[in-house]
């Protein structure tokens, strides 16, 4: 396949009023804020042909799904829209804002697309309906099959305009799934569930996928060669390589933020400890040396510390270790089962799994301790939290509807939404870094 892409060339749409950030009416400041009512019009077809690929609605639908996942918008139902998107204009002055204010929209997304062969040009604009102003406009060029990525990119732009930080809709989630069968394989899917791809197919047990900081590859533990080894799958080259195959568990490898080390759980004669490996898989340093269980390391965003699980107090609890000094302190004191820590990319909180009354809930706690917050107080078993790269969302697995599925929620626990429904158990979500 020839890679002749004018890939998602993004241009601010020319000859448009200058964008001033932070001047959006109803600026969204955080969880609990009222959802901002917004309309997303199907796009106007500027091309010569019929819209055989249904791009007009496909692009709009993708933006709607993203904005709903964000938890900050109330996207108005398309059936209420008064305009015909194919006959009305998309630039200031070429349509009537009253058609949108009358249905309750405060924000409006309009756009055009043009398909020449497989080459797709998309122009998208965000308007403030009350102030009759354009907030931002972007033009994208790519291939027809990239239409979702273009839509995600504009959704990220909308989030940037409203919150000051770019969205995370061009990210993916790696997870393991039985897919209705008996084997547990690694999958990668887009945040909206589209573009689901099976990464492993070795018909055994595959666990704990995690992303390299550049989003190129995935570390995972697999029983495919009998022993639970750590493997590195390069998503670009399609190459799978053994990374650590010491006798016993080689579990839960996590790249340091600078990409130089992998923190991993290794087992020696039943005893699990945390080690640092270099990028070739050689042991650089043993970090814990305790005869009980030490497992599940998670890096602080500055790469100076690791959160991990230890049963040294008699029950599994979360601990924090400074890598350089080895200084270790216990973080969790509530409950007798606290596992699977994930350190927020913002640095301030750690999400983890805690047993409450025989069920498992996702909690967050400040890195200095304090009162833990239960984010899933009343809905089945919830495990394995993984923060989004902007630190605003948490992916996790839950069996609240029967089998385990992957869900996401805001870091506050609000807006919990299911991402997967394979028919089997979907577990161990790992949120990718931002991908281009």
């Amino acid at each position: 396949m020839k890679l002749r892409f004018v890939l998602l060339v993004t241009l601010a749409v020319l000859a448009l009023p200058h964008t001033v950030k932070g001047q959006v009416k109803g600026l969204i400041v955080g969880p609990g804020a009222e959802r901002y009512p917004l309309a997303v019009s199907p796009l106007k077809n500027l091309g010569p042909g019929e819209d055989a690929k249904k791009l007009s609605e496909g692009i709009a639908d993708t933006i709607v799904r993203d904005l709903n996942l964000s938890g900050w918008f109330k996207v108005l139902d398309r059936s209420a829209y008064l305009e015909n998107p194919q006959s009305s204009g998309v630039s200031l002055g070429s349509f009537d804002f009253k058609n949108w204010s009358v249905i309750g929209a405060e924000g409006l997304v309009k756009g055009t697309f043009e398909l020449q062969g497989e080459e797709l040009t998309v122009e998208l604009r965000l308007f403030d309906v009350y102030q009759n102003k354009q907030i931002v406009g972007k033009r994208y060029a790519g291939l027809a099959k990239d239409f979702r990525r273009i839509a995600h990119r504009f959704a990220d732009e909308i989030i940037l305009q409203f919150t000051g930080v770019q969205g995370v809709f061009n990210t993916r989630i790696a997870y393991v799934s039985t897919g209705g069968g008996r084997f547990k394989e690694v999958y990668v899917a887009h945040l909206d569930g589209s573009e689901k791809v099976q990464v492993t197919n070795n018909r055994t047990i595959n666990l704990s996928p995690s992303w390299s900081p550049d989003g190129r590859s995935i570390l995972y533990t697999s029983y495919k060669d009998g022993n639970p080894n750590l493997y590195l799958f390069d998503l670009f080259a399609g190459k799978d390589a053994k990374f650590s195959s010491r006798t016993g568990l080689n579990l839960g490898g996590k790249w340091s933020p600078n990409g130089k080390f992998v923190a991993v759980t290794l087992e020696r004669q039943g005893n699990t400890d945390i080690y640092l490996l270099d990028t070739a898989g050689s042991v650089k340093q043993r970090l814990t040396d305790y005869p009980g269980i030490d497992v599940s390391p998670s890096w602080s965003p500055d790469g100076q510390s690791l959160a991990f699980v230890s049963d040294r107090s008699g029950s599994p609890q979360i601990y924090i270790m400074e890598v350089e000094s080895g200084k270790t302190r216990r973080l969790t004191f509530s409950g007798s089962y606290n596992t699977s820590p994930d350190w927020s990319p913002k640095g301030d909180k750690i999400a983890y799994t805690s047993r409450v009354g025989g069920r498992f809930h996702i909690f967050t706690i400040g890195v200095q301790g304090g009162e833990p917050q239960d984010l899933t107080p009343s809905s089945g078993d919830n495990e394995d939290p993984s923060w989004s790269p902007d630190g605003r969302y948490i992916a996790f697995s839950s069996n609240r509807r029967g089998p385990y599925n992957i869900y996401i929620m805001q870091g506050s626990g609000e807006n919990q939404q299911r991402l997967t429904a394979s028919g089997g158990d979907d577990k161990n979500p790992a949120w990718s870094p931002r991908l281009e």
């Binding site: 008996r182 099976q198 055994t204 022993n227 039943g270 005893n271 699980v309």
Partner: protein, 187 residues
């Protein structure tokens, strides 16, 4: 930026290809763990087919069988309390019986599998299963079984024998299995 974008896209194209091709990784070949060695080729140390310990739990998974130990197995499973890896009195008694068979069959190599119930997170349960397998191995060694005849592996909560969310079922899953190997386990 443009170059990186292109590279990124080719990565996703590869993934799309994998999806279309139904993925290319060949299924791993069978392990060297045998369920019931064919009669005639059997060595003296191995249990007779009637006395098989069953295949390893991983092999059972591959073949679509339950990871059970046959009632006729000379090596019995032992059971643990929730979130514990110390040996209960009943487990010690079972291990003494297992040790007798191991002494009577001095060339048999055994893999001890540590398993957990469904509750809790995958990684912690894998660490717990490793402890459970090692606890049995250590006790067998104190009973005079050479350590080099015993290997361990943890399957955590990944290969339950019982799939109901009841204490009776969970107890069946919190177990060590003892599987006679026909060859030295891969290390």
């Amino acid at each position: 930026m443009t170059g990186r974008s292109r590279e990124t896209l080719s990565g996703w194209i590869f993934l799309a290809f994998l999806a279309l091709a139904g993925c290319s990784t060949p299924a791993t070949t069978k392990t060297e763990v045998a369920a019931a060695p064919p009669a005639g080729k059997q060595e003296a140390a191995k249990p007779s087919p009637q006395q098989s310990t069953g295949p390893s739990s991983l092999q059972a998974l591959r073949e679509g069988e339950a990871p059970t130990t046959p009632a006729s197995s000379p090596l019995k499973e032992i059971y643990f309390d929730y979130d514990k890896y110390d040996l209960r009195a009943d487990a010690r008694e079972t291990l003494k019986t297992n040790a007798e068979w191991l002494k009577a069959n001095p060339s048999a190599r055994v893999e001890v599998e540590g398993h957990c119930d469904e509750r809790g997170t995958n990684e912690y349960n894998l660490a717990l299963g490793a402890k459970r397998a090692q606890a049995a191995k250590d006790y067998l060694v104190t009973l005079g079984i050479p350590a080099q005849r015993l290997s361990t592996i943890s399957y955590g909560k990944e290969l339950p024998v019982c799939r109901e969310s009841t204490e009776a079922c969970w107890q069946k899953n919190r177990r060590d299995r003892f599987v006679v190997m026909t060859a030295r386990p891969a290390s």
